[in-house]
């Protein structure tokens, strides 16, 4: 006889965090951070006002959006072949138009505030990696709390520490960002890789009953 789990809240929370169960999202997000790290490193290494440097600066938004779209496609592709045949398919309701606009508006306000602060306080540029780390930490902590995923708290702590390192060591700001994104991508590869390893060890492709 089967055992009924009376904790429906946990059942629903497990369903909501299923998207993150295989670690693929962290690996994909780590890939985006690695691209960003290489982008900032190129900015440091390339001579200022060189054609390549200007091209990189102009193409920043395109680079971020392109890598986000590409990694999303890769995640979906891998999930179709790895996750869904093992533990099943779940799709999540997209947030409503109003909620998306509110999120986009808040993100723009936040970005504008940060930009204005750095523009009016040039010495505070040294804090860029620490601020980036704090933003990452806040996002991971909220996700960890909402989904009940302890490894996201580890990522939040890592983001906070890794963001503070370049600032506290007095690293030049762009190099500091390159270092932060490089290190946080490594943390995400480790976290995602371990989650994926554990997922593969504990699951097997479904067989017909």
């Amino acid at each position: 006889m089967m055992t009924m789990n009376p904790d429906f809240k946990k059942l629903q929370q497990r369903t909501k965090r299923y998207w993150y169960t295989d670690g693929l999202n962290e690996i994909a997000f780590g890939l985006i951070c690695l691209i960003l790290s290489l982008y900032f490193l190129a900015q440091v290494l390339l001579p200022q006002d060189s054609i390549l440097s200007n091209l990189l600066t102009a193409g920043f938004v395109l680079l971020v959006l392109g890598s986000a779209l590409l990694t999303r496609r890769i995640v979906t592709y891998v999930k179709e072949r790895l996750t869904y045949p093992r533990t099943g398919y779940v799709s999540y309701a997209k947030s409503g138009t109003r909620q998306r606009w509110v999120t986009a508006f808040l993100a723009m306000v936040f970005a504008a505030l940060i930009t204005a602060f750095f523009a009016t306080h040039p010495t505070s540029l040294a804090w860029m990696s620490a601020v980036s780390g704090s933003v990452f930490a806040a996002v991971w902590a909220v996700l960890g709390y909402r989904l009940g995923l302890p490894r996201f708290y580890f990522l939040a702590g890592a983001a906070l520490i890794l963001g503070a390192i370049p600032t506290l060591t007095g690293m030049q700001e762009i190099l500091g960002l390159a270092t932060f994104y490089g290190l946080i991508s490594l943390a995400m590869f480790v976290s995602g890789g371990l989650a994926l390893k554990s997922y593969l060890e504990h699951t097997h492709p479904a067989t017909e009953d």
């Binding site: 089967m2 055992t3 009924m4 789990n5 429906f8 059942l11 629903q12 929370q13 497990r14 369903t15 909501k16 299923y18 592709y77 179709e80 072949r81 869904y84 045949p85 533990t87 099943g88 398919y89 779940v90 799709s91 999540y92 309701a93 997209k94 479904a206 009953d209």
Partner: protein, 103 residues
């Protein structure tokens, strides 16, 4: 009959059955889930899950669609608006009953 007792006897017995309640609770949290996911999470046998899903489908609470995700054949289940409404009503009734119970 008191209002509380009346509200308890009015409970939707189709949802009240534990296995179906698990299915509905899962589907309520997402847009849709496939047969394999539901089977793993509820730990029901294939036959039992099919039977419960059929009953929920007959009641108009769940819609079942056979489709493909890439090349993988999927049996996708999702709650209908009626199903969502029924679950919310059930939840409110149970909560109200528990709230009015002495500890």
């Amino acid at each position: 009959m008191s209002e509380e007792r009346h509200s308890l006897t009015d409970i939707d017995r189709l949802i009240h059955e534990p296995a179906r309640l698990m299915i509905i609770a899962i589907l309520y949290a997402v847009e849709s889930a496939d047969f394999l996911y539901l089977k793993r999470e509820t730990q029901l046998t294939k036959g039992n899950l099919s039977s419960h899903l059929s009953r929920l489908e007959d009641a108009g609470y769940v819609e079942i669609e056979k489709t493909y995700q890439g090349k993988v054949p999927l049996t996708i289940c999702h709650l209908t608006q009626n199903g969502r409404q029924a679950f919310e009503t059930y939840r409110d009734q149970i909560k109200s009953f528990v709230d009015n119970t002495l500890v």
